[in-house]
Amino acid sequence: MAVIKWRNHHLEDIEIALLLEAMKARYGYDFSNYAHASLKRRLKQLRDYFDVPHLSHLIPSLLYDERVAQVIINNISVLASDFFRDPPVWRYLRDEILPRLATFPRINIWQAGCGRGQETYSLLILLHECGLLDKTRLVATDINVSAMDEARAGRWSARDLDRWRTSYLAAGGQGHFDDYFQREGDTVMMVEHLRQKVEFNQHNLVTDEVFMEAQFIVCRNVLIYFDDTLQERVLELFGRSLQRGGYLLLGRAENVLQSSLAGRCFQKIDAGCNVLRRTAEVAHAGVAHVEVAHAGGLHVGGQHV
């Protein structure tokens, strides 16, 4: 056998492929269509966290120890966010999108990728201030159960409160931001009456199906972590979940319309804020059948292998 000198980072690519394969075979979580560069950065942080010389050392650990697997899953999948990140987007929602949603008799909103919930509750605050809370059903989903538990608890470090308040005001907030929280030492907790208004369900965009007909889907800065194949799947899923004429909000720097087949079902209505409107029927490219599950019957992402 010829000995070829491999650069370490190419070896790391092999290790990552093996690790993802182990994760998929053992736990049913398939991260193989996540965007490579950011996934690799996160996995290398794990190597440092577990203090192992190579990522491949984690493979036996994750196979035999679910806690290790859970740490890896958390590290790969938790989304960072903030209250009212990108204030102009929230102002646009308040001024343009919510008045249009108000014309529907009922408003079903699906927030995909809720992480620790900052964005979910930003949405609730906005709905509350626009007087739409009573006719709205808000379902927030994430692949990551432990992040979602934190979201459900609605409790965060008070450290970032000043920044969030500034964003809230820049987003056109009409009340007193601090009134939405109870202060408890170093943490702040979302007030009870808003926490009760959201349903949290585990949902894996890689494997799970449509579960509700929505008039508005919010999925910001999730697709940037996916490759083309997975972006296409998710967009197709959104296209089937959204009522015709419904709206999809993506992250400001996300882009799905150029290359994507499913993207053709959407029209951009605001370039700066990245709000899309579902206009056409969704082509069922590569989708054998359509399952519409009830919200209560979501199967648990990743656990069904």
């Binding site: 980072h9 965007a35 560069a37 950011s38 690799k40 990108d86 720097a253």
Partner: protein, 198 residues
């Protein structure tokens, strides 16, 4: 020493530039000096206060004869184009063909991070990368330069003597034995020479 012209081969493909405080005039001067047929793709990460960051692409577009655009997710990497990171996103090189973005935690309290750009650029482009750091009041960029050097890229650091904001150049020089420590004119000469090779 990297930087040798390989006959008939195209040596360098991507120029990645990082700077923060004090770097804007330097970067503008460098971009203004590069010819309209410059063959490398150019990726830029800088730390600017919120508000100024969104007009960075316009400011650079005014001085450069190369087209300048803000990256959106999975933007293709094309020769002779200049790409800047969008505000509050990390800019990554996904592979030799495309960029990617993330909103992962800030690195050294900044997002976008120069380290993130340089490290991912180095892994994708190895010795066909030129990594350049200018001035800055934060050491973000030093680890990325070290990684770029390790993987065979040409590394150029602005001389700390040529700026009031020398935290970045000092950190780079402490972290890695760069190929060139240069002033603005020398950087332009190096980049033009590298373009001739491409």
């Amino acid at each position: 020493m990297p930087g040798g012209c390989m006959s008939g081969g195209s040596m360098y493909k991507l120029l990645a530039i990082g700077f923060s405080a004090g770097g804007m005039p330097l970067a503008s001067g460098i971009l203004a000096a590069l010819p309209g047929d410059y063959p490398l793709a150019i990726a830029i990460v800088t730390h600017l206060p919120a508000g100024q960051d969104s007009v960075l692409a316009e400011m650079l577009d005014r001085v450069s004869s190369l087209p300048v655009a803000m990256v959106i997710d999975k933007t293709p990497i094309q020769p002779g184009h200049v790409y800047v990171a969008p505000p509050d996103y990390h800019l990554l090189v996904e592979n030799r063909d495309r960029f990617a973005l993330s909103i992962d935690a800030p690195v050294l309290s900044v997002r976008p991070s120069i380290d993130v750009l340089l490290e991912t650029a180095a892994e994708a482009f190895e010795d066909s990368l030129i990594a350049l750091t200018l001035s800055g009041a934060n050491s973000d960029g030093a680890c990325g330069m070290a990684r770029a050097h390790e993987l065979g890229a040409m590394t150029i650091a602005l001389s700390p003597l040529k700026t009031d904001f020398r935290t970045l150049p000092d950190a780079v020089l402490a972290a890695v034995d760069v190929d060139y420590i240069a002033d603005q004119d020398e950087i332009i000469a190096l980049l033009c020479a590298a373009g001739e090779c491409a």
